[in-house]
Symmetry: C2
DNA sequence: AACACCATAAACCGATTCGGTCAAAGGCAT
DNA sequence: ATGCCTTTGACCGAATCGGTTTATGGTGTT
């Protein structure tokens, strides 16, 4: 692994992104080292030179992405923001900023949830365990829900936002690159739209 | 293929569902006949006995699902419903009713959009061409958008509904089966929530 | 009981791809 | 020219691929 870390960061990221994409769209078993190498623009031999084995690479990515995600939230999520939608806006923007560097990171982190291969399951569970107490920190428990109109079912709003969250993070492979800033802006507008229409008038 | 059609419908559907799941989650190339056979509870030999080749099976599914989807819309979508949200509710319920019989059909139909393997690309494009003029029929062009509050950006609402649509159709592999009726109900409540808060008061 | 028929699965086929290794070829500093 | 380190294409045995063949057991007919 020292071999990998002594690479220029740009090249490291290219390899990471190739691997994230392959693993998240094909799963651990069906993603092949050749796929990853081809997408990263290196030879297959280098994948093993850098990481030793496919298993090693996968487990490294689990840890790397997990830590990165949690550190980013820790560093950037202002816990003083108690407004429901503003809090979601913040976490969304953190996710999008990560996707600028690592486009497949969100779908990879989702995919590890459903990965069942014995070779990596243990490592995944270890990471998820670390993430569990963490998730309580970004949860919306502490947020202020008193601003909602009285007749609005907040659990339903949560469910809707979950669906939106699932949906927006799916990058449509529409040829060119994704405009993450536009995506962030759209998402913010979307949340404002909901806020403006779900809150009592005095809180808008 | 006559061999396949002379099977009991239940068994046919089990095979179709196994194949839809394999193809939609792994793509044409990486989905293997053994995977499909295993999930369908038959031997690999039977897959070829019924369909001749993997290519044949895939193309059959493209046609079968495409036709089924379009026929279902044609039969069940009441074009007299001009209300924006009610129209979406109808199409959503049609999708969900299809997912009861074929859980992976929606994700399969999405996946063929991004399939690029030369062996099946042609057949996919033929199907998509048939679907093109069709899509105009279910489009929301004719729906009534005058009921929205004046300050609401309808394009933004559309974008949000797209995300919700992407999100809700992802079945979370949470061990047990999915409660489609509950899903349908949640989706309807969700749309009502939006309707009640996005429309001018006189239209609620 | 003998037969034909056919669905089915296991064993098998050559070809490909798998994860992983290795030797040889380059670049680069000394 | 020497030594070192990255990089690659060729290579390895093993696994898996799409697809076929063979053997089996059930069914219906006579």
């Amino acid at each position: 692994m020292e071999k990998f870390f002594s690479l220029p960061v740009e090249k490291q990221n290219k390899i990471i992104n190739a691997a994230l994409k392959a693993f998240s769209s094909n799963g651990y078993k069906k993603a092949s080292a050749s796929d990853i190498a081809k997408n990263a623009g290196i030879s297959k031999a280098m994948v093993f030179h850098y990481f030793g084995s496919k298993q090693n690479l996968y487990l490294y990515l689990v840890e790397f992405c997990g830590e990165l995600f949690m550190n980013e939230i820790d560093a950037k999520l202002d816990k003083n923001v108690s407004d429901f939608f503003e809090r979601i806006k913040l976490t969304t923007n953190i996710e999008i900023s990560l996707m600028k560097r690592y486009p497949a990171i969100v779908s990879f982190l989702k995919s590890i949830f459903f990965e069942n291969d014995a070779d990596v399951k243990e490592g995944i569970n270890a990471m998820l365990a670390k993430g569990e107490n963490f998730r309580n920190r970004i949860a919306l428990d502490g947020t202020d829900t008193s601003k909602f109109k009285d007749n609005i079912d907040i659990k339903l709003v949560m469910k809707m936002l979950t669906w939106i969250g699932e949906g927006y993070s799916i990058q449509l492979p529409g040829e060119g690159e994704i405009d993450y800033d536009a995506l962030s802006k759209e998402m913010a507008e979307c949340l404002d739209l909901l806020k403006n229409n779900f809150y009592k008038e005095e809180f808008i």
